[in-house]
Assembly symmetry: C2
Homo-oligomer: 174 residues x 2
């Protein structure tokens, strides 16, 4: 079971691909898709689509989670990020992936057990869960890994519920 | 010279394709791409992309104009429309089309000579410019036709400037 998590943006799209390894998770790939600030919006969206398509071909995930945006302040930024998010949803959908959406609070709750966990706590938990030698960087990639892990945990939880009386063993076979 | 104009939305994407016919313009196609409210956001974006791709294959425009959004009030709506807008920019870009962006005020100025023209004035001007038997409907399609016409007028104006001393005749050969 491979899951891709994506933290949308225009200048930087964070991504993280994790795989179930027994009852643990390991990181397959993580990083950012960066686009040049000087380029036209349509060209930046095209660059994001192409890089994401290549990443999906390389890592072949079976599920996807994308951060749900909540903006209060800057509507212009919210609209630009949403354009990128639309492109990301389209590319994932075209590959036949169901896309789960989580707010940052939901991800923090799932990973750190606290919806208001700070950046340091989150990075420490992601590092621990994936057995990484150091906290994952940059931030956008760490956020994307956390999204993928949050989705993986929900997926396992749903399986455990579905498995019912068959207990823990079923939940491990993700 | 064929131009497609697009008025982005989630539930309804207006489109209009116009073609230069001597010193006049005629409508090749106009209407809306509608998506079902009950479907998931990713599925609605996929439906928009597929319908737009089919429309581009059928009408084969050489230029595109998309409405630039300015939202003050509802950020949630602004973000949803921006997701659709991102998908539209991607589909146009993938077809190799340069995308011009205009605000509603710029379109009104170009078509009616008044940035604050009302809906009725705009529909009357679009009808007149395209020689249509009745005002174009629905509104989203009329807005999209106005966008395409505004871009066509700028295109002609730029040519006239470029033609310099060669005068009016050059401007007509669009």
């Amino acid at each position: 079971m491979r899951i891709i998590g994506i933290d949308p943006g225009v200048g930087r799209v964070g991504y993280g691909v994790v795989e179930a390894d027994g009852d643990r998770w390991r990181a397959i790939a993580y990083g950012v898709i960066a686009t040049e600030p000087g380029r036209r919006p349509a060209d930046r969206l095209l660059a994001i689509a192409e890089a994401l398509e290549a990443l999906l071909r390389q890592t072949d995930p079976q599920a996807a989670a994308v951060e749900r945006l909540f903006f209060k302040a800057n509507v212009t930024t919210a609209m630009a990020v949403s354009e990128a998010r639309g492109v990301i949803l389209l590319v994932l959908g075209r590959r036949g992936l169901n896309v789960a959406e989580y707010t940052p609070t939901e991800v923090k709750q799932a990973i750190a057990g606290n919806g208001r966990a700070d950046k340091g706590q989150m990075q420490a938990m992601v590092r621990l869960l994936l057995g990484l030698p150091a906290p994952p960087a940059p931030d956008d990639a760490a956020d994307a890994l956390a999204l993928a892990l949050a989705h993986g945990q929900r997926f396992r939880f749903d399986r455990r519920i579905a498995a019912g009386g068959r207990g823990e063993e079923a939940a491990r076979r993700v």
